[in-house]
């Protein structure tokens, strides 16, 4: 067992190295570079940048150095000094940008996840126990709407409706008076006021999948011998349902947390953008478009690492919980 874990951990190293390369080179892949992006941006606003100036900017940003060298500087900075590099686009250190954005990202992702469970689990249970009833169809339908509607469009429409109907500006996570205020109870309340819309939108996109998992697992469990036995013994339906089967059906959800979270960050980027949430998502998108490979590469690397490590933890848990899994055989 220990051997298995060590082996998997060791296997992480080449994967992470490969990932850092892919993350870095991927950003570099499209034509152009940050300087051409910046020049384009200046041009849009009327500033003309000459060829000489462009060359000078390349040197200033260190983009004249060969790609492998830049990659090495970036990676060695991360490994040796914990320095994730310097964002070209923001002109500040990647560490700083991430420390500003990661907490809020976690808050939104976690609460969205919990929100989606709060909706999905009851619907899943209801659908499993009332299979093919009108309620089953209706609730599943509602659940599917979340996954079927392009989130960015829904966000735009919701923001507009809230604005026109309630005069409520749903943008960002704080009202302007709390933007640079220190944390206080009032600020927290203000946050809650702004948080619900992103929660619903982000959460909905994840609901359909969860409904399906709960429904199917529960159907599975309900067919098992112990349930039939319990029913035969005259246990009330309610107790019968919640004593074991529901618990068993929800279990798999818990093990998915590790990789659902990083997934949420990237899959909700577009909603975050429309609602102007100060999360990692929009930063990642912008950095990718601007080919700010230190920033984008770092975020991609972190997300991928989280996923890989999450998967590892999941696997280990699975082995611990269920000895029947023949992890040894895979090693053969």
């Amino acid at each position: 067992m220990l051997l298995y874990i060590i082996r998997r951990l060791l296997m992480l190293i080449p994967i992470l190295i490969l990932m850092s390369m892919v993350a870095f080179f991927l950003i570099e892949l499209p034509p152009g570079d940050y300087v051409s992006f910046r020049i384009q941006q200046l041009k849009m606003s009327g500033v003309e940048v000459s060829e000489d100036e462009a060359q000078r900017l390349m040197i200033q940003f260190g983009l004249d150095k060969p790609l492998p060298l830049r990659y090495w500087q970036w990676v060695s900075g991360i490994v040796l000094r914990g320095n994730w590099g310097w964002s070209l686009q923001w002109n500040k250190s990647v560490n700083e940008i991430l420390s500003e954005r990661i907490p809020m990202t976690m808050v939104i992702s976690f609460s969205a996840l919990i929100f989606s469970w709060m909706i999905a689990v009851p619907i899943g249970i209801y659908s499993a126990t009332h299979k093919y009833s009108i309620g089953d169809y209706l609730f599943t339908f509602l659940g599917f709407i979340g996954v079927a509607t392009p989130g960015f469009l829904l966000a735009l429409i919701m923001a507009w409706l809230l604005f026109t109907q309630l005069g409520f500006s749903a943008l960002g996570l704080f009202s302007k008076e709390y933007l640079d205020a220190p944390w206080s109870w009032a600020k927290f309340v203000d946050l809650l006021k702004h948080l619900w819309l992103p929660l619903i939108l982000v959460g909905l996109s994840n609901t359909a999948g969860t409904i399906r998992v709960v429904r199917n697992n529960l159907l599975d469990e309900l067919n098992k011998q112990y349930v039939i036995t319990a029913r035969a013994k005259g246990l009330s339906e309610w107790k019968l349902l919640f004593k074991y089967p529901v618990r068993m059906a929800i279990n798999p959800l818990l093990s998915t947390v590790s990789w659902v979270l990083p997934g949420l960050v990237s899959s909700t980027v577009l909603i975050d953008i429309v609602l102007s949430l100060q999360t990692v998502g929009p930063v990642l998108l912008r950095a990718t478009l601007a080919q700010d490979m230190y920033l984008a590469g770092s975020i991609v690397l972190i997300l991928s690492a989280l996923t890989v490590i999450g998967a590892l933890i999941g696997d280990i848990l699975l082995v611990l919980v269920d000895p029947r899994i023949r992890f040894g055989r895979l090693a053969k």
Partner: protein, 669 residues
């Protein structure tokens, strides 16, 4: 009372004189206005002043100038020297018709102090509306034009020796926003230690300091005469230099003057590498001090980046740390060198706050919610009805002004590597036929929502008409009468005329205009395939002569800067290569195209804005009409500018961006 009045007249006279001085060649020495009552403080010669050491008793003789209440408080508290000591001996006086022409802003008035201007931006650390508002150049004209050009951060200037020698005198007593006086040391540092350093500027001085604003132009030499006077001499006439130090491509004074006292801390000549290295390590740098320097230096367009917080500048506002990464903030510069006709130190507005919204649509939603006081860059023509509907509710008004970049034009690359194509596209009849086939009325209505007009200036009335029959007739006359089964005309060689139009969708109008063009040209038997490519790729491909046809904007009117030789670049890339490399690369342009360079050379020689200059500009537009180097779709595209109803000194017409440039005179009523 009289005294004060008399004094400002003197300044205005001095300025008018110096402005006129610029126009005549050779210029008479501008009358140097030496105010009888010099401000109390004699600027110290030492480059480092003591901004903190404020005079103990501010109860000096009553000042000619007044200042914002928040600054007056600081003065009272002893944290700031009195206003007289903060202003240069001869401040820049803003009056009716100075920053914006009287025609565009007929009801200019001295403003009121105070207020926070709320704006928004959608790209991290890039607030173009504010960058333009902050910008200060060496010269200042009305709006963004060459009219009424006058010295800005400099006090006076002389143009001598057949537009070859330019002498500038910095305003005596002008101070950086940290209180340090501006002297020619700042100029010397710029030319010697920055442009002269091959790590910082591998190609030497920027093109602005080369004759004709061109890479191959002869470099100018900069001589420091005394603490306030410096001279730049060129071996050939270069009257356009004035224009280049004012508006060409939104130039700032940072082109010639940079805060030496501050930047020396990051320059290898003045600071040891070891002292810089601890800071450099944060940027993952070891000995690339030039990257570190660049990070610390702020050019005019960098002033919306938080890294420039408290960077010494001459701007009306200075960037301040906001405490929230998505909020950018600027506060008034207590040392700003402009006053209004009543003697009030500018700017009127105390503070600017820009909140980042991740998406342009949401920025507009904020605008509709009344959370934004001024927006230009992120408005859209298509949204005019939306703005109008919300005008009263949100408390703003929509000002329909002109757009400073022109509508998109159709470029047909006459040097594209295809013998058949070259033959037909170089025939003026072909280009005229294309122009006639474009239904501009429909474009104006559908793409510009009615806010544009026919391109009478660059295309002319005759060929901006929509006349398919005439277009077909021209093509038939050229002998392109054979058609294939799909109705596509054939080249004389028998190949069908298929044009690949690649555009970068740089502006919202480009993609629809390109698509519609393809459909218009199909009617006259020309097959056009439209492709959208990456904007930066577009630039590379166009420069490499790999694009056959494209749609792209230009700055041909208004800016009147590149209507002529710029058009040759738009007509045939290899032709302009040939001219730029003096015949080493590219292909020799035909005579009509060469004529453009001749017109342009004359234009750069004479002093920008003079009558002679205007005559040459008119000659250039006539040349465009005669040769159709590229085909403009429309002219006079409007630009909705949305401003708070409470705001004063907002121009009513002219270029929208001029309102930004004159940001220091905006105020809240």
């Amino acid at each position: 009372m009289f005294k004060r009045y008399w004094w400002s007249i003197l300044i205005v006279v001095a300025m008018v004189l110096s402005a006129c001085g610029g126009q005549a060649t050779p210029a008479p020495a501008p009358a140097k206005a030496e105010p009888t009552k010099a401000p109390v403080a004699e600027p110290t010669k030492a480059p480092v002043a003591e901004p903190t050491k404020a005079p103990a008793a501010p109860a000096a003789p009553p000042s000619k100038y007044s200042e914002a209440p928040i600054l007056a408080e600081l003065v009272k508290a002893g944290k700031l020297p009195p206003v007289d000591q903060r202003l240069p001996e001869v401040p820049f006086v803003v009056d009716k018709g100075v920053l914006i022409s009287e025609k565009d802003l007929p009801d200019w008035e001295p403003g009121k102090y105070g207020g926070t201007l709320r704006v928004g931006h959608s790209v991290a650390n890039w607030a173009p509306d504010i960058f333009v508002m902050m910008d200060e150049a060496v010269f200042q004209g009305q709006g963004i034009s060459m009219d009424g050009i006058r010295p800005n951060v400099i006090e006076s200037y002389k143009v001598e020796n057949d537009n070859k020698d330019f002498t500038f005198k910095i305003r005596k007593g002008l101070r950086w926003s940290d209180g340090t006086p501006v002297t020619t040391e700042d100029v010397r540092f710029t030319f010697e230690d920055m442009y002269g350093n091959d790590k910082l500027y591998p190609n030497g001085v920027p093109n602005e300091f080369r004759v004709g604003f061109s890479v191959k132009g002869e470099k100018g030499t900069t001589t420091i005469i005394d603490d306030y006077t410096f001279k730049i001499s060129f071996p050939k006439p270069y009257g356009g230099f004035i224009r280049n130090l004012w508006i060409e491509g939104w130039k700032g004074y940072t082109l010639a003057i940079n805060p030496a006292h501050y930047l020396k801390k990051f320059h290898i000549k003045y600071t040891k590498l070891e002292e810089m290295q601890p800071e450099m390590a944060k940027m993952n740098l070891k000995d690339e001090w030039w990257q570190y320097f660049a990070q610390k230096r702020c050019q005019n367009w960098d002033m919306t980046n938080p890294r420039c917080v408290d960077f010494p500048g001459l701007y009306p506002w200075i960037p301040k740390a906001s405490g929230n990464p998505s909020v950018l903030m600027w506060e008034r510069n207590p040392y700003y060198f402009k006053v209004d006709s009543k003697g009030q130190q500018l700017p009127y507005i105390d503070k600017i706050v820009s909140q980042q919204v991740e998406n342009v649509e949401m920025l507009n939603l904020k605008l509709l919610a009344g959370d934004i006081d001024f927006m230009r860059e992120s408005t859209g023509l298509v949204k005019i009805p939306l703005y109008k509907e919300n005008e009263q509710k949100a408390g703003f008004r929509v000002v329909l002004t002109d757009m400073h970049v022109d509508s998109s034009g159709l470029r047909l690359n006459q040097t594209f590597d295809d013998a058949d194509w070259r033959k037909v596209v170089r025939d003026i009849r072909f280009r005229r036929a294309v122009s006639l086939a474009i239904n501009r009325k429909e474009l104006i209505e559908n793409v510009y929502y009615g806010y544009a007009s026919l391109p009478l200036e660059l295309v002319g009335e005759e060929y901006s008409k929509f006349d398919v029959a005439a277009a077909n007739k021209l093509l038939d006359e050229m002998g392109l009468t054979q058609k294939n089964a799909d109705g596509i005309r054939l080249y004389p060689s028998g190949k069908p005329i298929e044009i690949l139009l690649e555009h970068g969708a740089h502006a919202p109008d480009i993609a629809p205009v390109a698509d519609l063009t393809a459909q218009y040209l199909k009617v006259i038997g020309l097959k056009v395939t439209v492709k959208q490519i990456d904007p930066s790729l577009w630039g590379t491909k166009w420069a490499a002569n790999q694009i056959q046809a494209t749609v792209m904007w230009s700055h041909d009117r208004g800016w009147d800067n590149d209507a002529v030789s710029g058009s040759v670049y738009r007509a045939g890339v290899l032709w302009s290569d040939w001219v730029n490399t003096e015949g080493k690369q590219g292909e020799e342009p035909p005579d009509w195209a060469k004529k453009a360079y001749e017109i342009d050379a004359r234009r750069w020689q004479v002093v920008s804005g003079s009558d002679e200059y205007k005559k040459i500009v008119a000659e250039g537009t006539a040349w465009c009409r005669a040769n159709l180097p590229y085909i403009n779709f429309v002219e006079n595209v409007k630009y909705p500018m949305v401003v708070s109803q409470k705001m004063g000194n907002v121009p009513q017409s002219g270029f929208a961006i001029a309102a930004n440039f004159s940001g220091e005179q905006l105020f809240f009523k």
